[in-house]
Symmetry: C3
Subunit: 308 residues, 3 copies
């Protein structure tokens, strides 16, 4: 098991199951402390920089909440402000500035590899808050944590991943995260144009993940977990194609007829209309609980990385 | 007297005089502690979410100041950032997210009823930071608190409300707040197009508030309180009509000739040119003091609602 | 030596060498405390308002970091939000609001004299975070502090100031700051259109600063300090003129051939391409260190002004 203190968090694949188990146990402790109102300010005096070059509400606010619950402070900018930050300045100089001010940097950026690049420059730990199309490790951590909460673990489960598996970094990170475990089966459920990219499929195959394409209808009865992501209209050159396709990737009460009682539905949120609100009141709806898990997971992560 | 702890703050009409007196006494204590530099961090460890879907500087910054003075932390977004927050996501999901992170939510939204809707979804208390055209309860609280400071109370006073009584939520909230008391007389002073909406007038009548339309000139000598609000040019289809009307609703030193010495002028601020800056140095000018009262009132409110 | 507590910080010329020495010694203590992880929360309970009407990342974030490291909290707005703040409201009312909420106000504004104006209105100390084309005193403080760190002081040094000496407030503040000391020689190195304004040159002359125009090539071998600032394309009516000129004001490894070993290069940052990144790895590159000094200097300043 690697040392957590001072560690960069770039890709979920940088972590072992043991690393993650350490994180989850710490998250359990944080969750309990939150519930009982006895969180200790172990990060008092620390500053966490939140450098969001792309919009994000959940990731940004849950990191901010996590830091502040532990007594740390945050500085930073949101995508709107980043426009003027970025005005002509290269990313390296911006990272150097934040590295000079803060004890850790959380970065979101649309460029693939931005977080790794930042980690090479910064002396303080860099946490990838989502970059490019592939990596969003803290999202994957809270996804796994939520599955562990519902099913006790990931091994042996049948898991469907639905939606945009090509451009959505949450879905890709989740699929990569599954390669660290031994699920029974992973179904990739997406329109042909939004199948995972070749390099992701190669990773999946190389790591021996039992993944296969499927339609939701065919596999719904088998699933223990259904991970839903948004399909953006803009991905379809032809709007009619989008309209034709979308129905098959929308989760409604009737979709769920025949599902196991213990099926949990996850979604990185925000959703638009890919999960019918009538699903919210079913016992399958775990996405709000999943979102709330963002705080204890990120508390645990900050606490471990900052060595509290 | 209802329990304050855990309470939603949606409309000023949800409160009794006794409730408000409890609040004002707590605000007195906060004010004294601020002055003497001995504010206790009774909300340390708490997180207050500030969800401002509409621009606001005073309300947002005074809530932020109030929370931080008491040792709480804030998270949230301003209207600029809200554009991307709102992108496709429904308000219910956004509220659920904030409810999962924070201990209380302060909401500003242009839709009537947004705060009540949020309160139905959230488990934590929701405080209306202004929604629709009607409700801005914390503004009304600090308005009443300022009158109490100047005149010892509201009962028996003669009060003028001037400006846009139709679209301005501060003025409407203030008028509704007055129905909880027994002023001698309330004069509604506005251009015909900006008179209070029918449902507000019905509330006023039903609750027995002695209100009547008037011109400023006719009543200025009687007034103990003059509450001024902004008249926006955009409300007038005909710009010439606006130009013709505005002079009658502008407060200048000459307007105030004949006013009682003890008359206080209030304004929710920001003002544009509806109060002449030469009025600032007269003893009537209470609007800056009123603005400063935003902090102790909101400290008292957060402290009561969060049960410190 | 004037009293620091409660003092406004408007222009670097308001300070004596003794004042600055007090500040630098306090910054030394802060720097040591930061390094050793034992910063005391001497400003706990204080609120610092950051009123940035113009974009700024380094100044804003380093003030925010400085305040939070010392246990203070910040409120405020960035330039994007300021658009709605400013909507019609005059600056005086905005300052009064912040003065009612916070214990100190840091102001950035494009208007010359905005900070002085604010200081006349506010009861709490106002710190100029840059206004107009001339004043940016806290930048000058950290510039001097960095030179002191490298060379033990400013007296006797030969200093070049390169770039836009006309519109750049950092360069102008730096030149004015030098008049408080006894450098051996100050070279002003700029395109003719970007020479210092007449009133600055008059100040310089009156105060007996041994300043002269020069070309970089002619003086590079003499320099102990080279202060570089950005030349903005927009300053040149004729783009071709800009292209012809820029090469002479760009610092590259070949520019530095013949420079003293002990030459330090400063830059207020952000840079665009006026310093070649290959210079970063030379011992001359002090600009990142200078940027990091923004935090201890501003910690020292806040601590002195707020009387901790």
């Amino acid at each position: 098991m690697a040392e957590w203190r001072g560690r960069d968090v770039i890709s979920i694949l940088d972590f072992t199951r043991d690393d993650l188990e350490t994180l989850f146990e710490e998250a359990d402790r944080m969750k309990r402390a939150l519930r009982e109102g006895r969180v200790r300010r172990v990060l008092e005096g620390k500053i966490v920089a939140l450098a969001f070059f792309e919009p994000s509400t959940r990731t940004r606010l849950s990191f901010e909440t996590a830091a502040k619950r532990l007594g740390a402070e945050t500085i930073g900018f949101t995508s709107e402000e980043a426009i003027s930050v970025a005005k002509g300045e290269n990313l390296a100089d911006t990272i150097r500035m934040l590295d000079g001010y803060a004890d850790a940097i959380v970065l979101r950026h649309r460029f693939e590899g931005a977080a790794l690049f930042a980690a090479e420059i910064a002396e303080h730990p860099v946490i990838n808050g989502g970059d490019g199309r592939q990596h969003h490790p803290t999202q994957a951590m809270l996804d796994l944590y939520t599955i562990r909460e519902a099913h006790g673990g990931v091994d042996g489960l049948t898991i469907g991943v639905l939606g945009d598996l090509r451009y959505g970094r949450a879905a890709t990170s989740f699929i990569l995260a599954l390669t660290l475990y031994k699920p029974r089966r992973v179904y990739l459920i997406s329109p042909p144009a939004l199948e995972p990219r070749r390099e992701v499929l190669m990773d999946v195959e190389e790591r021996g993940l039992p993944a296969a394409k499927a339609s939701l209808e065919d596999v719904i009865e088998e699933l223990d977990v259904l991970y839903v992501t948004r399909i953006q209209k803009e991905r379809f050159p032809d709007p009619e194609e989008y309209e034709r396709v979308r129905g098959a990737y929308r989760v409604t009460p009737s979709t769920l007829r025949g599902a196991k009682r213990s099926l949990i539905i996850l979604h990185p949120l925000p959703r638009v209309d890919e999960i019918d609100p009538r699903v919210d009141s079913t016992p399958h709806a775990w996405y709000f609980r999943q979102a709330r898990n963002g705080v204890p997971i990120r508390m645990a992560l900050l606490s471990l990385v900052l060595g509290a």
